[in-house]
């Protein structure tokens, strides 16, 4: 139980550290940008033409921008600690509301893409691992290297050209119907497959050469039964570890794929906010992504402990 608690504490600590670093970074950037901050906020609120020095002064007093930097920094972090992310400079809506709307789209795309990638990678990886150096192994290896050398926007452009522009089976962009999900989800899945096939394949190869597998065969189990009863769980350990690491790679995938397909997820929100320098939204999106990363890592840690209780034993000893 101790280990589980320690793992949870570690990941919470990681999430808090990420949040603190990100929030501080945003604060520094906001104040380091050239020009008067109050004037910029005023311009974003009432429009460029209608800004007067008076509005800027009013905003300076209202928002406390005339106070010492250290006090403002304390306030910035204090608001954040209370869960107050402020309002978007662009739309004027609360950042929380914007994040909740876009996060649901990213979650859908992410889950479907991730499931799809394992539907493709698991059978291929296991088949390749059962016969290292065989035909399937060589084909999947070439496939994985090729996909690993393709940035996700190239995969996406290829799929759009083929299925939307040439065959006209699917819509090229948008988000209204299920058909809109197909191309972005496949793009994400194919970028993930590039890295999960070799991991699954190596895990299977490793497990199959283990002594306990030889023993299971000697005991009289068929290769398939031996793998089902003794192999799967052991092979799953590195795969689960990797699935969490993969999430870090997925993040740039989201940003790029959502922008390419005009899909209203967190990544697209982040890019739009970055281009418009909408700082509260940038920070909010960054925080959500950072937290999601920590949560996924935590889930992976716990799954790994469940699959491989030796981790618990070692900690106790």
């Amino acid at each position: 139980m101790n280990t589980v608690l320690r793992v949870i504490m570690l990941r919470i600590g990681q999430a808090l550290a990420t949040a603190a670093v990100l929030a501080s970074l945003c604060f520094v950037f906001v104040h380091a940008l050239p020009g008067d901050l109050a004037l910029r906020v005023a311009a974003a609120r009432v429009g460029d033409e209608r800004v007067t020095p008076e509005t800027a002064d009013r905003i300076r007093r209202e928002e406390g921008l005339d106070r010492p930097l250290i006090v403002q920094y304390g306030q910035w972090m204090g608001n954040l600690a209370q869960g107050d992310l402020g309002r978007s400079l662009l739309s004027g809506k609360p950042v929380k509301q914007e994040l909740a709307y876009h996060a649901s789209f990213t979650l859908q795309l992410g889950l479907i893409g991730w499931l799809l990638s394992y539907l493709i990678a698991l059978p291929l990886g296991i088949m390749a691992g059962f016969r290292p150096g065989g035909v399937v192994d060589r084909i999947t290896d070439a496939l994985a290297v090729t996909l690993a050398s393709l940035p996700s926007f190239l995969v996406g452009i290829g799929l759009i050209t083929l299925f939307a522009l040439t065959l006209r089976w699917l819509p090229p962009a948008g988000f209204r119907t299920g058909a809109h999900m197909v191309l972005p989800a496949f793009t994400l899945a194919l970028s993930l497959v590039a890295f999960s096939i070799p991991v699954i394949r190596n895990a299977v190869v490793e497990v199959r050469s283990a002594f306990f597998m030889t023993y299971a065969r000697v005991k009289g189990l068929t290769p398939a039964a031996a793998f089902r009863h003794h192999g799967v769980r052991n092979a799953a350990i590195p795969v689960v570890t990797y699935a969490a690491l993969q999430f870090a790679f997925v993040i740039d995938g989201f940003v790029v794929i959502e922008t390419l397909f005009n899909y209203p997820g967190l990544g697209e929100l982040l890019v739009k906010a970055l281009i418009a320098r909408d700082v509260p939204v940038i920070m909010g999106a960054g925080l959500v992504i950072g937290f999601a990363f920590a949560v996924v890592s935590l889930l992976a840690d716990l799954t790994r402990l469940w699959l491989d209780p030796r981790g618990l034993e070692e900690a106790r000893a």
Partner: protein, 274 residues
């Protein structure tokens, strides 16, 4: 220079490393090979199909695609190399310092590396590029911050194990100064381990730089960077397939070459054939 090249003597190199020379040549000579001015617009000839005058056609403002692809090589390839060179030298230096110092400094450097590794890398580059408004420097700084920890971890691990070996002990007993030992005995092993990582890293950096260009957060237009070209050509995908294919293929072939070379170098240095 000899120090860097020494661990990778030519005769021990696997054959898939040689195509890298072609990439390097392209990055160095690309702009001089361009048949036309890559930024010269011709609004009478927009989105033209390939012809003798424009071998790969023209883009939406009538610029020659072939010239732009060639002129883009130093931006897309050169910057990636520069980025990895910066990140790996900082990483190796910090890793060596960590391996050679007391518990406190070592813990400080390595925990910082762990923290940075836990932070999604491209997000950092995106934030830098977004806040500082694109251009070369924000991108380089952002990517460098994201990339150095893996080199630091590798350098620290290799240096620590080498420092425990007999020949290092012998050199120390023979009275060689610590810095000479580091240079002669530790650095070659570290560089041998870092080389495959850096080769793969350049491929990753090409993808990150072109992704930033594609998002409109990389190099400023009209710089002919491949990712930015794809961003500009995307609305005209239906009319200009060849034009779009050109920068896409350049990115794919470059990254593939680097991936294959990196994998070959890695299995070469560990002696593990998979």
């Amino acid at each position: 220079m000899s120090l860097v090249l020494e661990p990778v003597r030519a005769r021990s190199l696997p054959p898939s490393v040689w195509p890298l020379a072609a990439l390097a040549g392209l990055a160095l000579t690309g702009p001089f090979l361009a048949p036309q001015d890559p930024n010269a617009q011709d609004l009478m000839r927009v989105m033209e199909a390939p012809s003798i005058a424009h071998l790969l056609g023209t883009d939406h403002v009538g610029r020659d695609i072939l010239s732009r692809v060639l002129a883009g090589a130093p931006h897309s390839l050169g910057l990636a190399v520069l980025c990895v060179a910066l990140a790996s030298s900082v990483g190796v230096a910090l890793g060596l310092i960590a391996a050679n110092s007391g518990a406190l400094v070592r813990a400080l450097i390595m925990r910082l590396a762990d923290l940075m590794l836990a932070f999604p890398g491209l997000l950092l580059a995106l934030l830098f590029a977004g806040f500082l408004g694109g251009g070369i420097w924000p991108m380089l700084i952002g990517l460098k911050l994201a990339l150095w920890p893996q080199y630091a971890r590798m350098a620290e691990a290799v240096a620590t194990s080498v420092l425990r070996e007999g020949h290092v002990e012998a050199a120390r007993l023979a009275g060689f100064p610590e810095l000479t030992i580091l240079k002669r005995h530790v650095l070659p092993s570290v560089l041998r381990a870092v080389m495959p990582l850096a080769t793969l890293g350049v491929g990753q950096a090409i993808m990150s730089i072109s992704a930033l260009g594609f998002l409109g957060l990389g190099l400023k237009p009209p710089t002919p960077e491949w990712g930015a070209m794809i961003n500009e050509l995307l609305p005209f995908l239906a009319e200009g397939f060849v034009q779009m294919a050109a920068p896409c293929l350049m990115i794919f072939v470059s990254v593939l070459t680097l991936t294959l070379a990196g994998q070959a170098l890695a299995s070469n240095s560990t002696g593990r054939a998979q």
